[in-house]
């Protein structure tokens, strides 16, 4: 692959891929944060700035060398301001595409996205599908959707593939959580007995993947299996999905298994309620002004309403592309216990 430019290299997926590829190619990490350990060179830049925030000379030198771009940089906070999310996720991507047009040796661009560009759609979601009018649960979903629309336009002239991830829970082998996200924050609130209820429908399925599967799949799809113009769902196997009530019960069982005090605290499993009931709670809590409960319902309300829109992500493209490689998503029941154990052992990332 020769020279590879990775944006967002300090994120969980970016770091994992760098670890895999460091012996095979020259990796340049465009970052405005701390340099990732496994890269050949760090380039101080900012995807939200024109010319990626690079000086003219640096830009030209980089454009002349880069053969592949993996665009991982994103603002993944669900509660971010709309403008901020659009700026990083849409404007940032447009800037990367602009740079790609100037790379004369460019062979491929891979872009990380989310399966939840499907927003409030229900039912089966195909990898080739994008446009819809169902709306979104949060600004992250909306901004990634807008990003993908720009990518689809650019696919006519640039060799782009899109990798849509579902929610990454942690490493399947060790349980280690490389990056705590909204899922872990919600689990922590549940553990602390602070979740009064969850908006959702009982038939909703929980789609979680392990970070090692995500990294292995992207690495294969971007290097050996690269096909321009394709979109891939990197999601759980349909046969491994469990329903929302089963997931809540399993989580409580694991809390009890790994923390002997859990049972004595008698934390009730949060009931699964229609969105209207959850909205009543939100209004009540906002009005009452209790800062802790306000934080809880805001954190839950930023993503949990997605559980009201029962959907299945079809991953036929991905399965076909990884066939024969041994790359397959581990089942939730197999890897989730280790993730919960890691969360409890590290006090949700506070220790190691």
């Amino acid at each position: 692959m020769a020279t590879l430019l990775v944006t967002g290299a300090s994120g969980m997926i970016g770091r994992g891929l760098l670890d895999l590829w460091r012996r095979d190619c020259e990796i340049l990490a465009l970052t405005h944060k701390s340099p990732p350990p496994a890269c050949s060179g760090r380039i101080q830049g900012d995807v939200t700035k024109p010319g990626l925030g690079l000086g003219r000379e640096k830009y030209a030198s980089l454009a002349s060398r880069v053969k592949a771009i993996l665009h991982c940089a994103a603002l993944t906070e669900f509660t971010a301001a709309r403008e901020e999310a659009e700026n990083v996720n849409v404007r940032g991507t447009l800037n990367v595409l602009e740079f790609a047009r100037d790379c004369r040796k460019l062979e491929r661009i891979g872009v990380l996205s989310t399966a939840y560009v499907a927003g409030r759609r229900r039912g089966p979601i195909l990898e080739r599908e994008l446009e819809h009018r169902a709306g979104f649960v949060n600004v992250y979903e909306a901004s990634k959707y807008h990003m993908e629309k720009e990518l689809r336009r650019a696919m006519k002239e640039l060799p782009i593939a899109v990798y849509r991830l579902s929610t990454v829970a942690g490493n399947a082998r060790t349980g280690r959580v490389e990056q705590f996200n909204a899922l872990h924050r919600a689990l922590r609130l549940f553990y602390n007995g602070l979740v009064p209820m969850l908006p959702g429908v009982e038939t909703s399925k929980i789609d979680l993947i392990s970070s090692d599967y995500a990294i292995d799949a992207i690495a294969h799809l971007f290097v050996r299996g690269f096909r321009a113009g394709q979109t891939y769902h990197i999601v759980a196997q349909e046969s491994d999905l469990i329903s929302l009530p089963e997931f809540v019960d399993l989580t409580a069982e694991l809390f009890a298994r790994f923390d002997r005090r859990w049972k004595s605290r008698a934390v009730a499993n949060p009931p699964i309620v229609p969105l209207e009931t959850f909205r009543l709670l939100e209004q009540s809590v906002e009005r009452a002004g209790n800062p802790v409960l306000r934080q809880v319902v805001r954190a839950t309300g930023a993503f949990a309403p997605q559980l009201c829109y029962d959907k299945r992500f079809d991953n036929a493209n991905t399965l076909q592309a990884v066939r024969g490689t041994g790359i397959a998503p581990p089942g939730l029941r197999d890897f989730y216990p280790a993730v919960i154990r890691h969360c409890l052992r590290t006090r949700w990332g506070a220790e190691g």
């Binding site: 602070l194 979740v195 009064p196 009730a268 229609p274 709670l281 009540s284 009005r287 009452a288």
Partner: protein, 305 residues
């Protein structure tokens, strides 16, 4: 059943002006509260007495026919005073009531530390007595609480009124047959001051569980409940709980939340009396009484009117 409220009632605006609440009148009205009853001239014992007098008159039962008296209270009437006479601590309103009403046959039982579920707990104990001791035919349950004078009146998004209630639990009674009862206590939440947020979070899930379990014991479906007789906690929490349990607004007796506030343990009795008087209940109706109390206890009773 019968109840007695203090003579004086005040609006949330008056309470706010007197610095007796934390929230603004606007916030309290949003939570469904408008007026509450504050005992100034009366003690909790006076309220208990008032409720018993009314009950004995309406039930046409002679005090001498009462076999047991269960006096339930969430707030102790007498408090230890430094250097005070210790014997003051042993002046029990339960036995005073027995003497004053000449319930000479009645065994007296005090029931404490059950917060707002005190009254439903007393009824549960009474019905168990009727089952376990054939000689007992009538048990008088009394519950009365009054906050100390000058107390603040707001606790965890609720406004506290003073009040007393009484119920006669009688073998083979013509009305309000006790069909099923469930109580759950979660000791982890014993300290409301430090566990307030967790109590709010646990409230709905546990309430739903307790109500559903009571319906299951009664072999009833929520659609067969003619009227839900609530505790008068904030209206918004009931809107949410109604959503969780599919309770339509027309089968929920809610006007007293605004009119009378939350009287610690007497709400269910007050609401049942008022619902009957308002013609909301007819013979044979299944009624579901639910309450939550600090401690933390969740309780539900189903009656057949």
């Amino acid at each position: 059943m019968a109840y007695r409220l203090p003579a004086r009632s005040v609006t949330v605006g008056e309470l706010a002006a007197r610095g007796m609440v934390d929230s603004t009148p606007d916030q309290l009205e949003h939570l469904g509260f408008r007026r509450l009853f504050v005992a100034e001239a009366e003690t909790a014992y006076d309220l208990a007495k008032g409720a018993v007098k009314k009950l004995l008159r309406s039930a046409a039962v002679a005090p001498g026919e009462i076999d047991a008296l269960i006096y339930a209270s969430a707030i102790p009437e007498e408090r230890p005073r430094r250097g005070g006479n210790l014997s003051r601590l042993f002046r029990y309103p339960a036995t005073a009531l027995q003497y004053e009403f000449e319930m000479t046959r009645a065994n007296v039982i005090g029931l404490a530390q059950a917060g707002c579920v005190s009254f439903l707990s007393a009824i549960r104990v009474a019905s168990s007595l009727l089952v376990s001791e054939p000689a007992i035919r009538r048990v008088l349950c009394v519950s009365a609480d009054a906050l100390p004078n000058g107390s603040r009146r707001e606790v965890l998004y609720n406004l506290i009124s003073d009040g007393g209630a009484a119920a006669l639990v009688e073998r083979g009674a013509a009305r309000n047959r006790i069909v099923a009862h469930t109580q759950v206590t979660k000791g982890y939440f014993w300290d409301p001051k430090n566990k307030g947020n967790e109590i709010v979070a646990a409230y709905f899930a546990t309430a739903r569980h307790v109500i559903q379990e009571t319906l299951d014991k009664a072999q009833l479906d929520m659609s067969e409940i003619a009227l839900v007789v609530p505790h008068n906690v904030n209206r918004r929490s009931w809107d949410i709980l109604r959503g969780l349990l599919n309770i339509p607004s027309e089968r929920f007796f809610g006007p007293n939340i605004a009119r009378k506030g939350h009287t610690i343990a007497a709400d269910n009795a007050i609401n049942l009396c008022d619902a009957v008087e308002a013609g909301k209940v007819k013979r044979g109706d299944y009624l579901l009484l639910f309450t939550f109390g600090f401690g933390a206890h969740w309780a539900c009773t189903i009656l057949e009117h």
